[in-house]
């Protein structure tokens, strides 16, 4: 299959996924445009993480397809799959930094595996990546020597090592204090603006959702799929679904700023 540069960054078609006999998501379809910052939100058990596992290839879908830049990921052979895997980076909830390696080695490993750069050039790129995330000079530290916020930054540097077109984040603010969480949000925006990366963020942190999201997709456990999509402030103000309003208007985040003049949101029937 030829790649299509004009295709959406991510296209999910009629995706169903789950574990063994239990179907967590059924018939989920959506697209993500290049450079878009999309949030996947919803209560616990709604299938956010399951969807993420399907998108990054850790879980085989029951039905449906995931395509990156027009190229099917689900139906790809191993060579195509290897190429597509270089298209995206992932920042895991628990960071998943390799504890026996220094930060430099953590960031360098993807470059070592996927490029033919010399050792000196890899070291230079590692320095560039750590500088981009504000960890210049921390090359020789081990993950156990870092604070929670620094670990997130280091994990982001590793996710960006191959200059991926897309970065997936699983709960990037989990376990961070509000100030560090805001710094992480600022870093995510900076990376998107400077590098033009498409971002897909799984989170239920309201402050981050309202601060960053171009668009949100809300999932629900009983609906087993998307119940709403649109801009977060518009959904909070105008969604017909009380589950969406309740989720986005709960007390632990800043008050949303609805702007009735703007359109663009819609509510799915569940």
């Amino acid at each position: 299959m030829d790649p299509n540069p004009t295709a959406p960054a991510i296209e999910v078609k009629h995706l169903a996924c789950g574990y063994d006999e239990s179907v967590v998501l059924q018939d989920v379809s959506f697209t993500v445009k290049p450079r878009e910052l999309l949030f996947i939100i919803g209560g616990s058990g709604c299938g956010k993480s399951t969807l993420l596992r399907c998108l990054i290839g850790l879980l085989q879908p029951i039905r449906g397809d995931v395509a990156y830049f027009g190229q099917s990921f689900t139906g790809a052979d191993s060579a195509q799959r290897r190429e597509i895997l270089k298209t995206f980076g992932v920042l895991y909830q628990n960071n998943a930094l390799w504890s026996s390696m220094t930060l430099a080695e953590n960031v360098s490993l993807p470059l070592e595996i996927h490029t033919s750069l010399s050792r000196a050039d890899r070291e230079e790129i590692v320095t560039l990546k750590l500088t981009e995330v504000g960890l210049a000079g921390s090359e020789d530290l081990y993950p156990s020597e870092l604070s929670g916020g620094m670990k997130k930054r280091a994990a982001l540097a590793r996710a960006l090592a191959l200059d991926p077109a897309i970065v997936f984040f699983d709960e990037p603010s989990e376990g961070l204090d509000p100030i560090t969480s805001r710094e992480m949000d600022r870093l995510i925006l900076q990376v998107r603006d400077v590098l033009g990366t498409t971002m897909v963020i799984v989170s239920h942190q309201l402050s981050s959702i309202f601060r960053l999201a171009d668009r949100v997709l809300m999932f629900d456990r009983t609906a087993k799929g998307i119940i709403a999509e649109g801009k977060p402030d518009e959904l909070a103000a105008h969604s017909e679904d009380s589950r969406v309003r309740d989720f986005l208007k709960r007390d632990d985040g800043p008050a949303p700023q609805p702007n009735p003049a703007e359109g663009g949101s819609k509510t799915h029937s569940s």
Partner: protein
């Protein structure tokens, strides 16, 4: 930015990255024109090759049909910046896309702050001195950890003696069960084979003098005094000691030990003492079991290869192996059990909270356990020799 970070799947449509150097006009900067698509996994121009024949000077980098780019272009520019800085010249990248300039500024700022905080290079003598001081600190810290752990365990035993009803005896039985069940088959196999090997070795020598029946004496004494307790202890060190270190290490990684401490629960009483008691109690039982299997191994060889009836072998063993011999082996195995439990728990409790830390703790528990077994055995050999046992 519309040109950066292509998907690798778009690579087939890209133009090769290019960089051209144009000589400076009189009094002006030389110009480097960068064009095409710059990608990490494709061939890219090298700054050093580009300027190899060129005298250092101010450089202006300008785009020339610049397509998609990634860190490879940034790397090229960083090399350019270093080349310029070395000759105290400037690299002007103002004509490049704004986001690329932002990244270059970040790198320049990081360089400046790192240079400010960079410590002066140390001489060899200073490095050796620092290494020695560091080693001394580590040794002191290790000794403190070990002594403190032994002290905590001793105090824990005192607490059990004073208030036995407060202790979780059920945990001890669970750990005993784990020791017993997991080690039983392998101890049986190894001990039986040790008996077989000893009998074969003894038979070769003793048959020459027509004294084959004394195989029973040799096997019986060797097994009950040394080989039975020793082999059982080695297996327990490899299996149970390592398991203790891995369990406690994983609990440390998962902050479970911290959770116990913040609840005010003594981690030594809750986690260490049940394991120590279990290995200390189970080790003599395992040694006794190993003794029986070892003697049976010798009996098997004697009956099948040396034509010595099993009853004759048994009578000879009974005549030669006394309770004192069996007791000396069991006393040793009691201390072996304590050592194995201590090694496993000590390494587990002092484990670094990482996957590598758990691995190191497990290996260290086995090595320490075996070392303790051998040292204890040597000390007991000396004591028994002095006492004439």
């Amino acid at each position: 930015m519309t040109t950066s970070h292509p998907s690798p799947v778009e690579g087939s449509r890209s133009k090769a990255a290019s960089a051209k150097l144009e000589d400076a006009p009189a009094g002006g900067d030389c110009v480097v024109k960068v064009g095409g698509d710059w990608q990490l996994n494709a061939a890219m121009p090298s700054w050093n090759s580009l300027v190899a024949q060129h005298a250092p000077g101010n450089v202006r980098v300008v785009p020339d049909s610049l397509g998609k780019w990634d860190s490879s272009l940034l790397l090229f520019l960083v090399h350019g910046r270093k080349w310029c800085l070395q000759s105290k010249h400037a690299l002007n990248a103002e004509a490049l896309p704004e986001n690329l300039q932002t990244l270059l500024r970040q790198i320049a700022e990081a360089d400046t702050s790192q240079q400010k905080t960079k410590p002066a290079a140390k001489t060899l003598a200073e490095r050796v001195q620092a290494w020695t001081i560091n080693l001394g600190k580590k040794v002191r810290e290790k000794v403190r950890e070990n002594v403190s752990f032994l002290g905590d365990c001793t105090l824990g035993f005192v607490r059990i003696m004073r208030r036995p009803h407060k202790f979780r005896w059920l945990d001890v039985f669970v750990e005993m069960q784990q020791c017993w069940v997991s080690s039983l088959p392998i101890v049986a196999l190894v001990s039986f084979l040790v008996g077989v090997i000893l009998a074969f070795q003894a038979a070769i020598q003793l048959q020459q003098y027509g004294a084959a029946v004394f195989v029973a004496d040799l096997v019986g004494l060797s097994v009950v005094r040394e080989m039975g307790p020793m082999m059982a202890a080695m297996i327990m060190a490899g299996g149970i000691g390592a398991a203790f270190a891995a369990q406690l290490g994983n609990m440390k990684v998962g902050s479970e030990i911290d959770a116990l401490e913040t609840l005010g629960v003594s981690t030594v009483d809750f986690l260490v003492l049940p394991r120590l008691l279990a290995t200390t109690v189970m080790m003599p039982i395992m040694a006794l079991y190993a003794n029986v299997l070892g003697i049976l191994g010798g009996m098997f060889v004697s009956a099948t290869m040396l034509s010595i009836p099993a009853t004759a072998y048994w009578v000879e063993t009974q005549n030669r192996v006394g309770l004192l011999d069996v007791g000396s082996g069991l006393i040793k195995s009691f201390v072996f059990g304590l050592g194995i439990g201590l090694a496993g728990c000590l390494r587990g409790m002092n484990c670094e909270p990482s996957a590598t830390g758990v691995g190191k703790a497990t290996t260290s528990a086995v090595v320490t356990g075996i070392l303790l077994i051998v040292i204890t055995d040597a000390v007991f050999a000396l004591i028994f020799n002095v006492l004439g046992i």
